[in-house]
Symmetry: D2
Subunit: 350 residues, 4 copies
């Protein structure tokens, strides 16, 4: 058992993959033009188009918050509304970054038990907005997380219906793909089928949680929407002068499908973990479709595991519910890591 | 001669130093807490305090624009004024980032022939602002570049007088230290003597141009001013989840004074270049005190050099003046690189 | 019956009171200094202090949205959170103005069946915010509407408890008093007892709905909080050059308690209307405590009344509920106006 | 002599014209729909189209700062540049309002001795901006003041050439017409000839300085640019609920050309004042073309006049120049007022 892998706190506690570090070394030679006018960044554009099988515009940034916020700011005016799930990372975990980057746009939240939004949920709030006229922020975008914050994955038909409804209402569709790789791995479809073919206009493509050091990309499948992106990125301090080091990380992900192999491994570990928990009689709060497991852990169990240096977060539940935890697996985790956690759970825990 | 080193365009065309890449590999092991709660980031705080010989707050970010803008946003309200040189990078090269981060603060520019501001320049504009009351933005900060955009370096007595004047007028003092290392190397003083001992409240400490991959730091010598910084950084998408990789770069800079050795090398190369140009009868526009040389290059000379793949930028000059160029040296440049450029200049160029 | 008074749509469809127009004429003589350095504006400060029996800072503006947003921007940083009711006007009817003025602060909404928030509702969301650290916007203010958007009025003990809880959590307390006059009239207490004595830090004092032409005031009972207000007001284009005309309206309200007489009349008309509806068997959705009546009107009844040129808004109700309407009375309405509406309701309506 | 008219400080120290107050009374009857859905506001649209002889979109607001800032925010993105004169009111007197409303756009200033910009001044800065790419804010608009802050008036050929140059560079053209009436009166042309026929896209039409109580209008001659204006206005708290009172003021201005009669009177008074000063040997700093006179007043003269309660502002002059003052006439001033000032100037003053 590898003692270093007792953290199920998040996929961002993991180190970078050796391929990523190697890519940094590989491009670390000689002078190249700065700010993205370099071969590595040009190669990124080519690799992304190949991966997604379409014309697109791709711009790397270092963090997921930057990717989401810059994407949204490109899609909505300062007086715009972004519809999203109440648990969406953009709404709960980014300290108001979308509001900052957009100049004050408003996130209007919708609920659901499994983290997914459904097409019919849009009609009523948008009809209300239209009726309110200038007193209401202008409906401008839908933002969905794939995989969701509940570790579930939109099916392609769900996505297609949702994006179609959004477009019908005049909204642009943004996908927070911090765990897009895990979703594609689950769906067993092509990246294209999981994104623009379903109607996604702009994708925050995550790599950091999936093995990169610090690299995400904003991908516009509707290139018109990218027109101002580069100005916004510079203005937000997210344009690297030594851009080759950002692009190289993403290239390493796309090459030989490293990103998908990583995601499959993380997903497999989550499935293994879920299966083991079920066998021990522990209830799962959601189907496990990506690399997150939400489990009903009695307080005593959590304490016992933490005393053995296992790490994971408590997950907020409605008053009166049993306590729950979130367990996240990652690309660098192996069966022994999962089994060690399972072995530490007494048979009588549930 | 090393053929890769024909670019004098900027210090950011250089690769990262081997020590930086090695540091990334060194910290790339095991899980650590994300978002800065890690040993490497704690070590950064200790190293910075040792280097600057004082209590301070240090926060790493990936770009100079982010460092400057986040620092300024911590010092001025949205309705504030930042006094700076008309050539200041924050005014000319950051696509309005200080305005964006601060929520619309205004840069009020002052001039001077050598890129430096002088203490007596503040009184009149601030008196005017006070007289105008609510009709004028509120004087809030002074931002100075050290080294300046003209490659000159404020002397310590100049800095002290300027910061004292600013403080007297109720302004906070920000230093854009994208090339702080080069300034310290020139001044042959301690980092403390070049910063807080002269009255600097907040410093953007540059590392990227000086050998890092992508790393800068905001240092608050007046810790009270840092109170909201972490919220602003997260909100701007500049908080790395895998923070160890940002901190490790800065630690590698501070260890064994790598940053100063790099800066001394870059400065020495600029001095060598300046001396060689002078010998060839080429006029320099400014004293060469850091790692930038501004030289009067006839158009024909520039064309000839560029045809041999030397790279450098034309520098805007007043109408009627002789054309000029900016030549930037860097930490990774050696005498042969400089001599190759000099050798390519015909004797009769001036 | 006065044919002009068939609109129960809003209190802002009413004309200005004769006293207000007279005040404009009265001050329309000779030159005076602009931007508030005039006798009328100085008199406003005196009248307000007398009315509220305390030291305070008062600044007039022309609209309620400006008053609310400027007040909130003075209380919360751009990365701050404002807790408010989900139906709060600032959340639903101001096109994101609080977000705009504050530079992107976030409104975090709480619910309740009657439009009022209760002290115990704050603890859980604020504990969550503290735990989330920099990933969550910073809890900064509580904003409450008095009277509420449901036409109910916080009792003084409710207010006191709520403000105390807010202060305990480090929040400032803002009161949206677009209908503060109606609330005071209902509570039969002094303005002081309805505001700062309960813990209100900043009050948006409404006059437009209550007989003014276009006049509201931001009142800071904690004068420190007003420090930057004048700069924010100017910067937002809300500083009138001919300020006397704004101050004169408010002075006319305060003189001889015109504002309270107006509010009592509006409240009395609402009470009369509510009583008449009850007699006709029509259910009211909320207790009628100010000048708004929410009534279950069958669609047929609404249509019948509208065909007779009565005006009022449909009020959104949960799916499956009976349709409802909002009926608003105003200072200029008399018993005959109310009785005419009641007379138009067939006995068999409910 | 009317003792009340000793202030030449500004045209905004004047009261409102009787016609304006009468208009307020006239429309103060019965209920009307709020927020601009009223007959008076519809009439404004008709009157403006008649006055300007074209299709246009007109939106009233209460202050000039609001008009300018909302207009500019409609024309430029947050990362945009507005070119303007260094003395432009938007640059010097609005506490950063254009920056606030636009979300941080940058004012890039140009100079000239008489307050006017000339077409050839645009080429160089815009070429520089294009070359700088994402590092420079995006050239987006030209804003000119007519009449200028120096009391001069652009000739129609000057305007046409300037706007054509701006359009050629892809800029929109905004005119700050706080004293547009005075300019039209001076030019003796039609309002159309002074605005859209010269290439103006958006005009801030001033009425407050010209006899209104508090009323300005933003007029879009390129209606596409007005698309988002109403959302921006609401969001900024500049949408009046009782809009009739704002529209009525502007209607009173347009009716019977009150606005032009007022401006002609103010201009005539300035001309009379200028003539009188010249006769007394006092130098004027600029041609007097609107309602402002800039005169070289020795300190002793200013003091003597102020001791007799005449009011006017000192005007900043370059170090070493003779002191100067600004004298502003207004619509309500008569020859006796001017002559009283002249009479108070000793023959030996200059």
């Amino acid at each position: 058992m590898n003692p270093r892998r007792r953290s199920f706190a998040s996929d961002n506690v993991a180190p970078a993959a050796p391929e990523i570090i190697a890519a940094l070394s590989r491009v670390n030679t000689g002078t190249v033009h700065s700010y993205g006018d370099d071969p590595e960044t040009r190669r990124l554009a080519a690799l992304a188009q190949e991966t997604f099988e379409c014309e697109l515009v791709i711009h790397p940034v270092a963090t997921g918050t930057a990717a989401n916020s810059l994407a949204l700011a490109s899609l909505v005016p300062p007086f715009g509304a972004v519809y999203c799930h109440e648990l969406a990372h953009i709404n709960t975990d980014e300290c108001g970054a979308p509001e900052f980057f957009s100049g004050g746009a408003k996130l209007l939240t919708l609920g659901s038990p499994n983290g997914k939004l459904a097409a019919p949920q849009l009609a009523a709030p948008i009809a209300h907005a239209r009726e309110m006229g200038v007193h209401h922020v202008l409906p401008a975008a839908l933002s969905i997380s794939q995989a969701t914050e509940w570790g579930t994955v939109y099916r392609r038909d769900e996505l297609t219906a949702l994006a179609a409804a959004a477009h019908e209402h005049g909204l642009k569709v943004h996908m927070d793909g911090a765990r897009f790789a895990n979703a594609v791995a689950h769906l067993k479809c092509s990246p294209a089928e999981a994104s623009w073919k379903c109607g996604v206009d702009a994708l925050s493509f995550g790599a950091t949680k999936n093995g990169a050091l610090a690299a995400e990309a904003v991908i516009f499948f509707t290139p018109d929407l990218a027109r101002e992106f580069e100005l916004r990125r510079k203005r937000a301090g997210h344009l690297w002068s030594k851009m080759r080091f950002l692009s190289a990380q993403l290239n390493a992900c796309f090459e030989n499908e490293l990103w998908l192999r990583h995601a499959r491994q993380a997903n497999a570990m989550a499935a293994r973990l879920a299966e083991g928990l079920r066998k021990r009689g522990i209830a799962l709060l959601q189907p496990v479709e990506a690399n997150e497991v939400f489990a009903a852990f009695p307080a005593k169990l959590s304490a016992a595991l933490r005393s053995q240096e296992f790490e994971f977060y408590d997950w907020p539940v409605p008053a009166g519910s049993s306590p729950a935890v979130r367990l996240v697996t990652a690309y660098d985790m192996v069966s022994d890591d999962v089994d060690a956690l399972l072995a530490a759970i007494p048979a009588s825990s549930a």
